[in-house]
Symmetry: C3
Subunit: 141 residues, 3 copies
């Protein structure tokens, strides 16, 4: 377990045709945030969702316009101090049917997406590669 104080709260718009995962990471780096929690709503032109299965993510690609009904995630750093975004999302189609999973690159923003990040200050959130799961897991109890 780790605890800190809440630092800044940051807001950004992500624009049409940006790659959602890349855009989130870029903004978090610009804000120089190393630990925190993120929230996002908006729309997508398509999505690539990950489903974790024994050391690897299945890629599920949906090629139609979607609402981002929910996107929550966290900000940490890897062993080299590089920012790692871990976010999951729920998207919905024109019938309001939902699809969910791990946010992967290749998901293209529609009209807009609105990102909010709340920073954790005075806390070190580090990920390191875990041989068993093949994931970069948080070094926390």
């Amino acid at each position: 377990m780790a605890e800190g104080q809440v630092g800044k709260i940051c807001f950004s718009r992500i624009f049409e045709d940006e790659d959602l995962a890349v855009a989130i990471e870029r903004r978090v780096k610009e804000w120089d945030i190393k630990a925190g929690v993120l929230f996002l709503i908006g729309t997508l032109k398509n999505v690539v969702l990950g489903y974790y299965r024994e050391g690897v993510y299945d890629h599920i690609r949906l090629d139609f316009p979607l609402e981002i009904a929910s996107c929550i995630g966290n900000v940490a750093v890897d062993e080299k101090g590089e920012v790692v975004i871990h976010a999951h999302l729920v998207v919905s189609n024109e019938k309001a049917e939902c699809f969910g999973g791990h946010l992967l690159e290749g998901s293209q923003v529609g009209a807009t997406a609105e990102l909010i990040v709340i920073e954790g200050e005075g806390v070190s959130l580090q990920r390191s590669f875990d041989e068993k799961t093949k994931l970069k897991l948080l070094k926390l109890s």
Copy 2:
């Protein structure tokens, strides 16, 4: 991009038969919050979900009791300084099947809904009408 400090954190219960969208906006105004992030869980008697399609929201109305599995959103102001709530939700039926989209008026609260808003202080979050998308978009990079 815009950044500020975290202000107050506010909690409210929303009651049976209140209109969810109206109730959220009313409470945010009473708290005098002009920028922030919101979270809500609870139940609904019915829901009206929006799906954005080229300048207009399709309305998807579901007339049965639902869990609000997730509701996240943000608080900003329009050109006149009036509060604008932008929230998306995921609801689920008795089989746990999910439906998602943009929160529209006409969604009636069931037994209860629990709202939490975290304020962003020292930050101006303004929306202005965009001719291309017909949406009030955040004036942010």
Copy 3:
């Protein structure tokens, strides 16, 4: 309605085979948090979702591996001052299909789950049993 200041922000990893509901409650108690908001993403080996129906939760049990696409909730206390966690979640299967509802005990964590709690300070969030709904409702307007 109730408002306070934001206190600490806490992070924890929940491990394989832990009961998700039990694990969240245990960590919140260790942090000595009595009011707040929580967020979690991760994976599950199975889930037990609640669907509220006139005073009782239907239990919907899904016995296959799932992504936790979203989990949001709040922290309050009951009449005796004991911590009560109220959380809802959206989970997704290998086809990215979503299932949602109220988090119940019996949901076993998969590879990992990542919990973040933001504390509300200077605010009393109390639940009390309501005869009509049979729920412990927040004593708030």
